[in-house]
Every structure is written in C-alpha cells, then in structure tokens.
Subunit: 338 residues, 2 copies
C-alpha cells in the first residue's frame, strides 16, 4: 500500500501475476478467455498494485471514449443545471462519464466547444444548440449528437424537446379565458425553435379567438435577468400597459417579477404573470407563479438515453422525442381588475 513512484500499468500487473500482458488484459476486461484461477490471480495483483487502467490508452485502441459531451448555454440557469444533472445521472447509470462545456451565457463559441469534443473523441454529444452549425460540424466528424430543448436539424439529428407551440397556446388561452384582452408576450429570441414555437402558440391562441396580434405587446428582450427587468419596466410604465404577461422562459419571468415588485404592481390584481419553465422561486413567492412545468432533469436523462441508443444503432432514422410540459395554474393568474 506504499504509493508507487510510478503508476502501475497492466505490464506490472502481468508480471506480478506471472502471466503475459494479453492474458492480464483478458482477465481484467472479461473479454476473451482466461482460466478461472488465472483470472483471480490477476485481479488480486491488480488490486494489490492499486492498478487503474488508463482510459486514454484503452480508448485510443478502441477509437472512441466512454464519455459523452454535454454543451449547455449557461449552468447558472437552473434549467440547464438540471438538464446537466439529468444527463449525468443517465450517463453514469450506463457507465459513461460526462464532459461538460458551459458556454458561459454565450461568451464562448459553440463550434469551438464542439471541436474540443471531437478532439476528445467522445462517444456522442448532447447539445442545446444556437444554430445548425454545431450539429453539422459534429456530423461531419462522425460524432452522433442529440439536440435538446431546441431543434435546428430535425431531418438529420435526434432531438428531445417539448411541444412548445401547444404549451404556449395553453398558457395564452388560460389568460384569455380569465378575461384578459391585453396579453403581452415577453420573449428573448424567435430564431430558435423554442422562441419561435412559443411565439406561434401565443399567436394561434389569439387568432383562434378572433383577436389580432398586437405587435406592441410582443416585446423582445435580452436574455439575462437584468435585461428582462429593464424591458418589463418600460412595458409596465407604458400607457397601454397589458393586464397579463406571458414570459417565454424562467429568466424572463424573473425579470418581469422583479420589475413588477419594484414598481409596486400587485400580482395578480394589477397584472397576471405566467411563465414558460418552472423554477424553485415560483412556488416560494406570494402569489405563486403559473408556469409550464418542464422536468428538465428528465429532459437531460432522455437526451442521453436517446444518444446512447443512437450509438448502438447508427443507421436508424433520426427521432425526435417529445416530452410532456403541462401547464400548472397557480396564484399569479386571475381575472383582470375590471
């Protein structure tokens, strides 16, 4: 148990057990034949020497590592953190390890992150993409990938998403059913499927009731809390203030909530608020916040599961897994003050 000056290699194990390297390898990996007695002797020797096989050497030979890459936009957002946690769970359960790249909120280039994955010869990657460039790149380098949360390449790439359109429509209808007519949408982008589909769901609900989409009520915001708060503040201060606001994700909802609080707007009497995405704070504040609840841990798990299945069956046609995202009505939405 004295630490060796040098890490033990399989050669050391073989010598200690009095067998050849090949036999030691077979005994340890369980692939190929090895007499029971020999197997035990080798394993004992490995244990004695504190032998830990070099994953790099093993994977170099096998041409691929037992690691999956996960690329998220910003780990500080609980949505992505939960996603990563779920991906980690599923990977661990199947003997894989996770290599995580956090884009730091967009500070880093996606494709650069993908290149690191290719260099590491990961078995595959789970990615929350910002464009089709990243899965294109990975595809060209023959590394399987699955898009998660949003989708850019449905024809060529697996994906795990929720039905954004349907859920957004439900939220909007819920607000309309309560009697709201001036329902604003706070949104940060409509280039990705998430934003676009949520926007479309919002429009569809309005149009189904014979209402026109008022462009002045669809407000674009930056992606962080501070930007959302500033945008919401301006909106709430306008003469034609909406009676209800649908925030297209949890960060935007947080900004809107903070803006309303600072301005002394009372929820839900002055303003109804609904969010796409749940977050812990939404059931802690008073009133609690109506939200589309995505189980992002489950999304992460599903993504890794899809990826690992894809690796086993590379020829299967691309599949898009759609997870449930039910609307959960809470205290922040109510009929408008007459």
């Amino acid at each position: 148990m004295i630490p060796p000056e040098k890490r033990a290699t399989i050669r050391d194990v073989a010598v200690a057990a009095g067998v050849s390297q090949s036999t030691a390898s077979r005994a340890l990996t369980g692939r190929g034949y090895a007499a029971e007695a020999v197997r035990e002797r080798v394993q004992e020797a490995a244990h004695q020497l504190g032998y830990v096989p070099d994953a790099m050497a093993r994977h170099l030979k096998q041409r691929v590592s037992r690691s999956v890459g996960v690329l998220v936009h910003d780990l500080r957002n609980s949505f992505y953190a939960d996603l990563a946690a779920g991906a980690g769970n599923a990977a661990r359960a199947r003997g894989y390890t996770i290599t995580l790249t956090d884009l730091g909120g967009g500070a880093t280039d996606e494709v650069e992150g993908a290149e690191a994955f290719v260099a590491m010869r990961v078995a595959g990657v789970v990615v929350t993409p910002g464009s089709a460039a990243i899965t294109d790149y990975l595809g060209r380098h023959r590394v399987p990938s699955v898009e998660v949360d949003r989708q850019f390449a449905p024809a060529t790439c697996d994906a795990v998403v929720v039905d954004n359109r349907k859920a957004a429509r439900e939220v909007t209808e819920h607000l309309l059913d309560l009697g709201h007519r001036r329902v604003a949408l706070l949104i940060d982008e409509t280039d990705w499927t998430t934003g676009r589909e949520r926007y479309e769901g919002y429009c569809t609900a309005l149009e189904a009731r014979g209402l026109e989409v008022d462009r002045g009520l669809v407000v674009a915001s930056g992606w962080d809390v501070a930007a959302a708060k500033a945008t919401a503040t301006t909106l709430f201060a306008s003469p034609a203030r909406p009676t209800a606001l649908f925030a297209a994700n949890n960060v935007l909802a947080e900004g809107a909530w903070r803006a309303a609080a600072d301005m002394g707007l009372h929820i839900p009497s002055d303003l109804s608020l609904a969010s796409f995405d749940d977050a812990p704070w939404m059931t802690m504040v008073t009133p609690t916040v109506t939200a589309v609840v995505q189980d992002s841990v489950a999304v992460g798990e599903a993504a890794v599961t899809r990826l690992l299945d894809r690796i086993e069956d590379p020829a299967a046609p691309p599949r898009t897994v759609v997870l449930a995202a039910p609307l959960t009505v809470r205290g922040s939405t109510a009929p408008p003050a007459s």
Copy 2:
C-alpha cells in the same frame, strides 16, 4: 469538404503536405523547429482535411490530459451549479476542459467517481468532499486535488473555503443585537468543516453574550428541502418556538421558508429568518431574506486557479484560500414581537 470515410490523422496531413509525420507534428503544435513555408503548408493541409488532433493519443504520449475533474454533490443545488460554472470558466480560460461528476445528492460513491478521474488521467480535480477518503485516494494516485467549500485534509491538500465560523458568528450576533434570545440553528451535518464551523460560530456568538447554548434549539435535519421543511414544521409547532432561525445553508432555508409559509407564520414579525448562502429566490420573496452571501461562481474559479497553479508547482506547501462571505441584511430579520 466531402466528409472522409475515416477521420484524418496526422499521417494524412503529413502526406498531403509532403512532409514527414514528425515535421507535421512540430508544425502543428509549434514545439520544435519547422520552416515558415513548411509550417504554412502543413496548416493548410490540416485545414483542408478538417484535421482535429486526437487528444487521447496526444495525452497518452504526454502522460496526462488537459482536463480537470470536478466532483459536486448535487448540480440541482444552485450553489454547486454556480461552482461548476465558475470552475468551467476558469478552466476554459486556461485551455482546459471540465469533466463533471455529479453525485446525484449522495446516491453515488465519491471514491468511485474519483476512480473515473484517475482512469482518465485528468490533470487534477476540484472536489466538494464528504470525507478525507477522496483526496487520500487521489493523492495516492498522484493526482493533485483541491477541496472546495469544506475541508478535510488541510495539512496535505489545497482548499478554497470561506470563513464559516466568522460569518456564522456575525449572523448570530445580528440576531442577538435585534433582541432575539431564542435563536434556533437548523443544520444538516456537523461532520464536515462547513457544518461544524457554522455551529461553532453560532455557539461562540451566544457564549460571548453570556448565553447558554440550548440543545433543544439546535435542530438536525436531512439535507434536502422536504426533510428541512418537515423538521422546521415540527420546530415551529413546538411550545417553545424560537423567535429567530438561522438556517445553515440555502436548502435548509428554503425548507424553513416553505414551512413558515404553510403554517401562516409571518416573517419577520412571528419569526426572523437568516440563511448561510444566498439564492435567487431570497431576493424575490417578500420580505427578502437576510443571508451570508458566498459568490460561488468565484469560489469555483478560485479552485481551478489554485489547482492549475499547484500543477505548475507540485512541491509548494498546501495552501488554503479563504474567500469573503459578507452578511447581507435584508427584510427577513427584525426585532422579535415583544
């Protein structure tokens, strides 16, 4: 630009550029000589072929990878998620990649996670340990590590922590200054330095005022929100209910907050609440919550920085970096109702 059937290797690049493999390697890595014209020719060839060097092969030769392991308790806790985000930032800035292991709230064995890191021959690991076993193990295998948040092996291992004792004492004194005499401590463990030192800080503050520590007011709880809520509910229902509660971390604070809300206890008039750790919800609820604010992103960054410095200078004595964790007084703490 047609995808090759097989990934390009340095041999392919060398052939395309009309040089030897060694020269191609030198031209690409920038180590060793290569004529300017040759260097350009090789780089052009590499680009044409979409060559991405195999990190495994490179690191196998170099005996260590350019990746650092990060082991956290539970990514769903914003404290750890932010820590991981900070670690990722710092690593990326210095050309390292992060391999993340999430223990899933304790479901997985620490040492097992550490073994995977050893197998990958990571350059080092940042770990939020549960005992000294993990850094022992890593040390035996010659992989440098830094303990973060809590510390088990100050004599042998680098660490990045905050002054728990001092901050906990400040919180308790703040509560005592407001006039509270029945100040409870809600805590999940006292085996780690975090819990023990926070407990000690609490005791010190009490004793400095000539008050005895009432064992009935020091309540142990499980580590998740549900357990904390249940424990707090029992505490709040007891005849000798405290007038103030100090929760030893953000999860416990969340449980206590939810318990108080469910029981109709008004904060701060019925109960003052203070937390060790800040969390987004603490500035969203009414009233906002008094907390010891740790910048966990900064903690993660500092940990990776320390680790990388350690790698460059393996012989230096172990160092413990102590970061500031100021008490931020908000609305949840006030004098007790007479």
